[in-house]
């Protein structure tokens, strides 16, 4: 073994709070909710295109919206019922902005479409399996919501030495992956074999943090008879579940800045994604439900539930003992990187690894005080950056210096904010700076595009003028050769004026 393997830089040990939700089995017997809200965008790309109309009856597993664009994904009906409408709903996003969704009223019959699972996926061409995964609408379920099929195809294009199945659920409170690994270990191992078969990886590793002994035992048992699937135990430390850190812990390699993991021959998939892939390729089931953790100090009986996509969050809380007190903060995802929710009137989506209702004491928010340069953020940063400098520069709108201090490599894991004794909202500064940078990049792009168009236009006008001139000269010469007839038409000056005007407007833009 190489020196330093299994180690990552920095990181923090937040209070786990995992016991509460990890002790109960996944409840997959939730009664059907009255209504399901299915946002057309539950993935990283464009809205999916609806294939149904209001009033139409759909069956469980029927495709109701089709992927539109490269990073888009199909959406299927989670149960049988009637499409009430296609309307805007509040999205599970801090902005609380509306987004398009298909609204489905279950009919209680839970009637499946005819499933057509492949007879033997291991004898099928890999590309066909990737297509099946694509059709099943599977996205990265650890929260990345990147379509899984794209990653599989990337895996086919590159030589993948190590496939890592990410079972390092490092966010506090969340135990979905933990329970899934304990209860459905065989399925996960089969899913890992399928992914390995598709991308032809040399080594397949299921990486689990050492604070999940039951999950480790269950997977070791499930993988024992299969062979070629390694269970690797990594130290429990946030953010071990981040792809870059996990790759470092498992392989000792770092993903070079600006590159992707497949550039160094590694591909990472979350265990829940691998489980969904297994369900799709063995049972032919599209992605219509997911296991999610319902937890937090305000939840009566925290536990994991297997819920249909589109289930309203308030319904999940009701099914888990209700909210005992008014939550100080509602979250989708874990407390370290999760997003705050404006209301419980939002649906569960493909990337929801958990919904949390936290008390005031759990959030422990304070007014920020000045930075005392204690350097804890530097020690905690898993990327080796200088969060205090990045925050200071961002605060002063000096984004170039912030980039230099490490903003360009920041993964927004929140370790720095977590340990800051001054309670400085560092991640907020970084998100602000990243937003501003993205905006200035976009306007820069727009500017250079305008300049390109300008140059092209000028070149075209010059060419035309030259052609005209040449034609005139030719005509003159011809006329001279024959007989002098009429005076030549005057050349236009309008084009010149337009050019000047456009240059002026471009300068304006650059100044703004």
């Amino acid at each position: 073994m190489l020196f330093g393997l299994g180690k990552i830089r920095g990181g923090v040990h937040p209070d786990g709070h995992k016991i509460d939700s990890a002790r109960l089995v996944i409840n997959s017997q939730l009664p059907l909710p009255d209504t399901l809200w299915l946002p057309l965008c539950q993935h990283s790309g464009e809205d999916a295109r609806p294939l149904v109309q209001a009033g139409e009856r759909v069956l469980k597993g029927q495709r109701i919206a089709a992927a539109a664009g490269r990073f888009s994904a199909n959406i299927h009906a989670p149960t049988s019922g009637t499409i009430t409408s296609i309307d805007t709903i509040t999205m599970p996003h801090p902005s609380g902005l509306p987004a398009n969704a298909i609204i489905l009223q279950p009919d209680g019959k839970d009637e499946w479409i005819t499933l057509q699972p492949p007879a033997d996926p291991f004898s099928m061409p890999q590309e066909a399996l990737a297509t099946l995964v694509e059709q099943a609408g599977i996205v990265g379920m650890g929260g990345a919501i990147f379509p899984a099929a794209i990653k599989l195809r990337q895996g086919r294009r590159f030589e993948i030495k190590t496939l890592i199945v990410n079972g390092s659920e490092c966010e506090p409170y969340l135990t979905t992956d933990d329970r899934l690994m304990r209860e459905r270990a065989a399925e996960i191992v089969e899913g890992a074999r399928l992914v390995r078969y598709i991308i032809e990886a040399y080594r397949t590793v299921i990486a689990i943090e050492d604070n999940k002994p039951q999950a480790i035992a269950a997977l070791q048992e499930a993988a024992a008879n299969v062979g070629a699937i390694e269970i690797v135990v990594v130290p429990a430390r946030y953010p071990m579940g981040s792809a870059k850190q996990l790759i470092q812990a498992v392989t000792g390699l770092e993903v070079p800045a600006g590159k992707r993991s497949n550039d160094i021959g590694v591909l990472v998939h979350n265990v829940a994604t691998v489980y969904a892939i297994q369900q799709a390729l063995i049972h032919g089931k599209p992605l219509i439900s997911r296991v999610t953790t319902v937890a937090g100090g305000c939840v009566g009986e925290p536990r994991n539930v297997e819920a249909l996509l589109g289930t309203p969050i308030h319904y999940l809380f009701e099914q888990c003992g209700g909210l005992t007190t008014t939550p100080a903060r509602l979250l989708m995802g874990g407390p370290m990187m999760g997003q705050v929710l404006p209301t419980t009137e939002v649906p569960l989506i493909k990337g929801s690894s958990g919904v949390l209702a936290l008390t005031k004491a759990e959030v422990n928010e304070h007014m920020p005080s000045p930075c005392i340069r204690c350097g804890r953020c530097v020690d905690a940063c898993p990327m080796g950056l200088l969060p205090l400098e990045m925050a200071r520069n961002s605060k002063q709108d000096d984004f170039d210096s912030a980039q230099d201090a490490g903003l360009r490599d920041c993964i927004l894991c929140g370790s720095c904010s977590y340990v800051c004794p001054s309670h400085i909202p560092l991640v907020q500064y970084f998100e602000y700076a990243k937003g501003e940078l993205a905006e200035s990049r976009a306007s820069q792009q727009k500017l250079s595009y305008t300049q390109e168009l300008m140059a092209a236009r000028k070149e075209r006008l010059e060419r035309e003028a030259a052609a005209k001139e040449a034609a005139k000269q030719a005509k003159k010469a011809k006329a001279k050769a024959k007989k002098p007839r009429k005076a030549a038409a005057p050349t236009t000056v309008a084009a010149d004026t337009a050019d000047t005007a456009e240059t002026a407007s471009t300068t304006d833009h650059a100044g703004a």
């Binding site: 770092e254 070079p256 407390p335 340069r373 204690c374 929140g414």
Partner: protein
Amino acid sequence: MTADAQYIPTASPHAHDRSSIDRIMLRVCLALTPVSLWGFYCFGWPAVVMFVTTCLAAILTELACLYVQQQPLSRLWDGSALLTGWLLALTLPPWAPWWIAVGGAFFAITIGKQIYGGIGQNVFNPALLARIALLISFPVQLTTWVNVTPIDSANAPGLADAFAIIFAGQPWMSDAADGITGATWLGASKAAAAGGADLAAMLSQDFSLYDAFLGLTRGSLGETSTLLVLLGGIWLLITRTISWHIPVSLLGTLALLAWLGNLSNPQSYPGVLFHLTSGGVMIGAFFYATDYVTSPSTPVGKLIFGAGCGVVLFAIRSWGGFPEAVAFAILLMNALAPLIDRVTKPRAYGRRHSGDAIKHTPAQRRVV
């Protein structure tokens, strides 16, 4: 529950390790408590009165500064002013008059800290800056070291006497022919070396390692007991309030240089243990040099900073004009801290030290 009227979108994380500035400051104060109490015992009630006066003056000055700058007065509770006053008091002669204490505290808080914009903004350690300002302005008062007169001994002043000594300048036992003050060992050795005396012979006669280590010597409150300072420092290390880098590199560098000097010429260079146990080295290494605000924030930077302090300290002690140099050494390195931070940026994940992406052997593209 529907949309909450009080809903404020907030960036992650939504959890915290419960650390806070006041906790850190109080922890440092707690670590200073044993050595301070020992100082009170050794130098009696006047030391207590001087200490309390300094701390109160620091707190009141901070309050006034916050008020004038219209900053939230609740910032007073972060404990930094108390700590500054405390740290200043520990550097002063135990029986320093009240105007030294108050003037020093005022200087530390205003010129040392608030003038830069308050907590976290200052370049120099406020307590040390004040000490040096006092030393240069009032060299006599700042180098008048009272003998150890335990608080329970017969000739120790009572509380009323203590107030008279500190606030009214009342002399104590002036009739005692040989006086009640004397030089510190560092001062004595410096004077001896200047006179061309054999330092080795002198120290072997006068210097008691036992007394220096336990704290039965003349000096400022914080300079006395190396043992108690060490205990407090180790506790700060255990609680991870400070990191090991600065104390270890400072003490290590000083020890190395002292060893080399002593090896080359024992007549002019005292040994390692003399250096480590005398003066403010130990408290400087654990409590003053580790000040977050004025020291580098990267691990390598801290090592360089500590080593730099050690070198300057040894140089001034050996060849400079002042007997003690901890404050000078730390202040000098304080000035360099921002520069050190700049050149010791840690290597980012996926990058080399230069900032370029690390090299990799690209995964071969498959021919599909």
